[in-house]
Symmetry: C2
Subunit: 139 residues, 2 copies
């Protein structure tokens, strides 16, 4: 497990969207965009249904995610963070996590999930193994 | 090969960055952010060195890319486009393509690549097979 560098943590806790990659049974990439946060040095995201990405992670826990930063490098290219890690799935807790993340992504007064009685869902917890991309977090 | 829907083409030709996923020899995802454009109904990007992503595509042509849109869906989530396709690599032509894409990504007066005598590099051409994500391009 690699500790999350401070600049990477700041981006992971911002309103930057995370492009999450999991591996399909046929070895092809599966991609979706998710909200993320950080808890106990793990990257977390919440899911109400048991999505295909979660089934993929049950079978092969290797995941990658990428987020666009706001800084530019010396030739004007946008900084970005790539995290390679391993995911594990916890049952329950999704509505509470999504509500917390909604404050970062949508605003301080938003109710999310929007329905009154959401299912408990699943929390995906990702342990970081390697950081890349372009920016202060990249080797 | 799937024809690129008009709304997806508009996003692919905008200044939205593409998160490009290729498959490493060990089956894990490799992710980088690239500039993209459209030529002859293919998605194109230019590379000066023969990056790891190009080596990956030589071995396994399956690629995915994701781009953030600007619209929101009915519950306030950002639209995004995912393209699944197959890549092939052409030698040469990268500086000319990068200069064209730099006008969309950096501005009308930018010289890119910034060096005086760039190598011919490689152009990655991606044939789309399936569109997903959240937005008018998703089934």
């Amino acid at each position: 497990m690699a500790e999350i560098p401070p600049a990477a943590r700041e981006l992971l806790e911002s309103d930057a969207l995370a492009h999450l990659v999991t591996i399909n049974p046929d070895g092809s990439p599966q991609v979706s965009i998710v909200w993320v946060g950080v808890e106990d040095d793990e990257i977390v995201c919440g899911h109400l249904p048991f999505h295909r990405k979660l089934r993929n992670i049950e079978r092969d826990p290797r995941v990658s995610l990428s987020l666009e930063g706001s800084g530019l490098n010396r030739i004007g290219l946008r900084e970005y963070l790539v995290v390679h890690g391993r995911g594990r799935i916890e049952e329950g807790g999704a509505p509470e996590l999504l509500q917390r993340l909604a404050h970062a992504y949508l605003g301080p007064d938003v109710k999310f999930p929007p329905m009154d009685d959401p299912p408990p869902g699943y929390v995906l917890r990702i342990t970081s193994e390697r950081f890349g991309g372009v920016g202060p977090w990249a080797k």
